[in-house]
Amino acid sequence: MPEPSKPYFYPERADVDSPGYRRSFLRFIAQRAALGIATLWVVSLVTFITTNLAGIDLAEAALGVRVTPEQLTIFRKQQGADQTPVKRYWVWLKNVSTGDWGLSLVGRGQRVSDLVKPRIGRTFVLALFALTLALPLALFFGILGARNANGLADTILSAIILVVSTLPEFVVALAVLYLLGVWVGILPPNSNAVSYGTAKEQVEAYVLPALSLALVLVPYSSRMIRASAREVLASPYIRSALLRGVSESRLLARHVIPNILGPIANVVALSLAEILVGDVVIENVFGFPGLGQLAVSAVNTQDLAVVQATVIISASSFILLNVAADAAVVLLNPRLRRLGV
């Protein structure tokens, strides 16, 4: 049927505009933040229980097998291992929240915070780099796909995006590594120059991992943007605008973009969150000396203090960005902003 019959009458609905029904913007953000803190607390609890309590002896792990019982007792006392679990958790939580992660067990007395700090910066720069590569692409593909939905370009694009989005990250990263790093060979396939090389080498070392991350991100974000742009383009007010003589470019700038700003900001925040957690694999493929690489090597060596630190840092930034993503949607939608959620 080309002409769908529209019900003449809309169903009854609850009086959503009555006072108290909607949450104000600030209250909504406060609730999301509280939820984020609760989540973080659960993460800390899980981390603490698995790494500290579940029958592992940190002291033995740290000091090795050839150790006298006296040494063990002293070490345990230093670590506070003779206290009750609740007390230990409390002390641990206090230390962790002030940035005191303790000592690395493998790095022989190196402070975990010293180990982690330079890597946080590198990983963050990598994430921003990837985002600046991915966002314009995602916007372009998303809006292009929405504008000729189900057309030839959209179909081809959708198929490519579907395939790329399916591939495990290491497959994408290896493909980039071999195509650009080895086969074409203009960029270094290994990114360890980030920590010591010259300025030029450092910049070059960022390119391939950032590109891989961007490739992983584009399918997801362009699909999100396509979906919201498509929804807006199919709205009656867009047709009405065209029928008032609005040109294509004006339509995009004045009618479409304002309506998809929220979703775009949401995608940006979520992508950043995804990158910060998801670059573990890609950092390892390229040997990029970031937080993810540290995490994996710490897991392999059972360096639990370092694992704790990387996990808690990643989880905090992930959760923070998730709250930001929620806030962005509300803040950039006048209706939600003014009437509440």
Partner: protein, 289 residues
Amino acid sequence: MVPIQRPTPFSILLRVARQFTATIQGRIGFLLIGMNVVIFVVGPYLAPYDPIETGVGPSAEAPSPSHLLGTDTLGRDILSRFLHGGATILFVPLAAVTLAFLIGGALGMASGYIGGLFGNLVARLLDVTLPIPPLLVALVVIARFGGQLWVMVAIVAAVYAPRIARILRAAVQNLTTMEYVLAAEARGESQTAIIFGEIIPNILAPLLVEYGMRLNFAVSFISSLNFLGLGVQPPSSNWALMVSESTTLIPTNPAGALAPMLGLTSLVVGINFLMDSLTQYLSDETSRV
């Protein structure tokens, strides 16, 4: 009166098969998955060598009649490793996702349909646990317990169960306000009749799509862990592990190095195509409603 055929189990099966293969994509997906499953099942019997025995041939040799895909750096036959190494790629995630569906499904449906204090409690629990990134949980747990198969299964099940519970909860809540469910309540149908007769038939198809997507995520996720060396330990054969072991062979023996990557890729693409096809079919169907 025209005799009307009642649906038989066979006709239902046929209908489901048609739903999966409604598009070209669906058919390609079906083919890719089929190929992989054949390798998983028959492969181990066809393997010419022991997959973990070192030195059956020279180290890192290009393909030859005796080693069709060449050998790796330890002189193991890549073809044999390939034929043995597929099963865990699919079956570990399969077990994990199925477990996640059993736990999450029961939790979500119960909380969605019963509601009340229990429902709210479950909802809050889901709210708090959902935003935890799976990879971080995996890192912590593997650091402590190692990367054995059961740990993998437990991690994936634990991480995905809340997601499935959330989806099912929402679906069931949505359906219980549907008027056909209200109609069944108004005519006094029993609770079991409503759940099994009215609600479940309507969530089966979207649930199947969700299952496929989760399976895909799980395959990628567990492969990534294996690739990072956090899961299956050498010398066992596993495609993801083989990918990380054989990266150095790409220039000299591309076929051998790429075979596990190709197998893995074809599997995930296959699952994705099949699910995409089903989703498309379902959205066409609902748009017709």
